[in-house]
């Protein structure tokens, strides 16, 4: 595991009136991600009275509570004890249960920021594409919009900040990058991330039995497709946009 930020120190903060956030690190890292997934599983198996929601993010975990059933103080002490019981430096990512393969186009209008990203990283656009296609990726969290995956981790030299000016809108299906991650947009959306590609995958589809296709922990690989492939897949009724899912 390559990791420049191996130090994982859980800290607990209040978020609004009815949530606590366990922050394992300020920045993204494989170690922080492993800690989040481990703690999510721990809490799901052992819910304190009054917890109404547990949600993982990239380096943190949200625990929402019903203030009528448990006090913030009681929950905070309980979580502090749970966190103190573990050696957070020794965790590896749990094995993925499923692997997704998703077609993506990196040409022309589908990749408006590809040249700029290549420039920031200091290599050829074709190398950027090759790195995405060969990376071992996981769904780290679902969020921002319904079903929308944060995917990581790309190599350390992909650690570029978000743009300071927001792009007014990227289309649904846009594959964007910042801080060693990829996001696959569920809906047309404003963003500070850089768009490198376009897919026909719909992460949120209300007509499906389970509208949210992906789950945190799923493995993911991308395969290159042409603009006409993606157009045809986007026009089809299939919400997965040509993606396949293997269960291990």
């Amino acid at each position: 595991m390559t990791d420049d930020h191996p130090i994982v120190t859980p800290k607990i903060y209040p978020l609004g009136m009815d949530a606590l956030v366990i922050q394992f690190a300020r920045t993204v890292s494989d170690a922080a991600s492993a800690a989040v997934q481990f703690m999510t599983a721990t809490l799901q198996g052992n819910r304190h009275e009054g917890i109404v929601e547990i949600a993982p993010a990239l380096a943190s975990l949200l625990v929402r509570f019903d203030p009528n059933r448990v006090s913030r103080q009681t929950l905070n002490s309980w979580l502090t004890t749970l966190c103190a019981d573990h050696d957070w430096s020794q965790l590896a990512l749990p094995k993925s249960k499923r692997t997704w393969e998703i077609p993506v186009c990196f040409d022309g209008d589908a990749a408006p920021d590809l040249a700029e990203v290549a420039d920031v990283i200091g290599c050829d656009p074709s190398k950027i594409i090759a790195e995405i296609l060969s990376a071992e990726l996981r769904v780290l969290a679902i969020g921002f919009a319904p079903g929308q995956p944060y995917i990581g981790m790309l190599p350390e030299h992909w650690n570029m900040p978000r743009k300071s000016a927001i792009t007014a809108e990227v289309p649904a299906g846009a594959l964007v990058t910042a801080v060693r991650q990829l996001v696959l947009f569920a809906n047309p959306s404003p963003t500070g991330w850089q768009q490198l590609g376009l897919t026909a995958f719909r992460p949120f589809d209300l007509s499906a039995q389970d509208p949210v296709a992906l789950r945190a922990g799923d493995a993911m690989t991308f395969v290159q497709a042409s603009q006409s492939d993606i157009s045809a897949l986007r026009d089809s009724e299939n919400p997965f946009g040509g993606a396949s899912c293997k269960v291990h």
Partner: protein
Amino acid sequence: MQGALIHIDRIAPGVTVQDLGRPNIMGLGLSHGGAADRIALYEATALLGVSRVLPAFECMGIGGTFRFTGPMVIALTGTEMRAKLGERSLTWGACHPVSKGDVLTIAPRQSGGYGYVTPSCPIQTPLIYNSQAAHLTAGIGNMVQVGDCFSLGGPLCDDARNMRLAVSPDRYTGGRLRYLAGPQTSLFGAETLERFHNTDFTVSRTANRQGVKLDFLGEPFGCDLSDGIASDFIVAGDIQMTGAGQPYVLLAECQTIGGYPRIGTVIPSDLAKCAQAPTGSTIRFEPITLKSADAVLMSEHIQISALRKQVTAMIRDPHQISDLLSYQLISGVTAGDDL
């Protein structure tokens, strides 16, 4: 038996059906959503005297024309808008009986804010994750369109109910917003925070159910992002700084995770004030401790109970009685304001 219907004869963009939203599924990427001003829905509940919060038409700024095919009562809450039933003006912050064939027209008085029209016959639209609330950024539900026809359930209150509720006027003027520190507050230096607390912000025209942009004079509110912080949880009420140091207060339809740092979270009672602040009004921020915030936090149940006690019977204002001359008034002279 077929229940009454509401036909939409005219509608401005930005009208949606809203209820209290979808709590506790952030892990699927769905923010809470629901009414931008939840208190306005509690007020409608108290006015109608019903046992649960009913879905409402939320009018962002403008409004439309609603035609009823049966008798019911409608509550008008939130930002004050012009309401007319046929040619007769209706008092806002009140509930009024309507009859078969009546046409209700809602029009704006000012720029910004949200008005709510809540029928006592519950609006019937599909439940998605246990809520009827449109969440347009998530692709759930639609804006109300001309020609739409909403099916309604049976009336949940007496057809003649005509009540009013005096609302504190400072709910609709912007003003002071109290906020709690959160996971990212410490990214902002003490000096930046002090300047933030001493700045008058102006509510921008760039405001919707996702958030309200706040304009200000002076340097951007920067913070230490040298490490490229991990995207982290967002909740309604968060005061988010873009990379350019521009503040937004995020509302019901915000994202669930985001990378721009948040100074803190506006407490729920003041968040409704923020959503309802008119364009151009002034906002200031004030930190509040968890202890003080817990002390002013009221559950939905307690808030509605308190509002129920403030509801009073409507006394018709003679200025609003269009056929005043046909009434048998006492003989002699009356100024009209001594009723």
